[in-house]
Symmetry: C2
Subunit: 78 residues, 2 copies
């Protein structure tokens, strides 16, 4: 199972699913499936999403659960 930070990243930029879907060239419902964890993106889609958010793939998708970004930031400040 692959965990993802799509909902947070999308929310942070105030994007609708449709807007994100258009940006990476997939159907808007595909984004919904991904956010709900119904399935994982293909590698190609993952790379496009990483490109769009300008983040490494690993910061968006992970084999182990993500810490909430808020926590991660606090931890980093020690």
């Amino acid at each position: 199972m692959v965990h993802n930070r799509l909902p947070v990243l999308r929310a942070e930029r105030g994007l609708s699913r449709k807007a994100l879907a258009d940006a990476v060239g997939v159907n808007y419902q595909t984004i919904g499936y991904l956010e709900r964890g119904d399935f994982n993106p293909s590698l190609e889609l993952a790379l496009k999403l990483a490109g769009f958010f300008d983040l490494p793939v690993e910061m968006i998708f992970s084999l182990t659960p993500f810490r909430p970004l808020s926590e991660a930031i606090r931890a980093e400040q020690e």
Copy 2:
């Protein structure tokens, strides 16, 4: 289409396809398909491969063609 550096990385470590396949938990022929570009790995497999090689996904898989590692190293030395 996704480009990949699997053949180089595997060769560099003197691994057989079977050894790599076992390490990431897939059939050895799946590695063959990937190296030949017959299809792309799932995101899950890509993350496992990145973990195995201890490299970011983007250094193994890319939407744009890779420069040969040898060239990339020379370019970096300028």
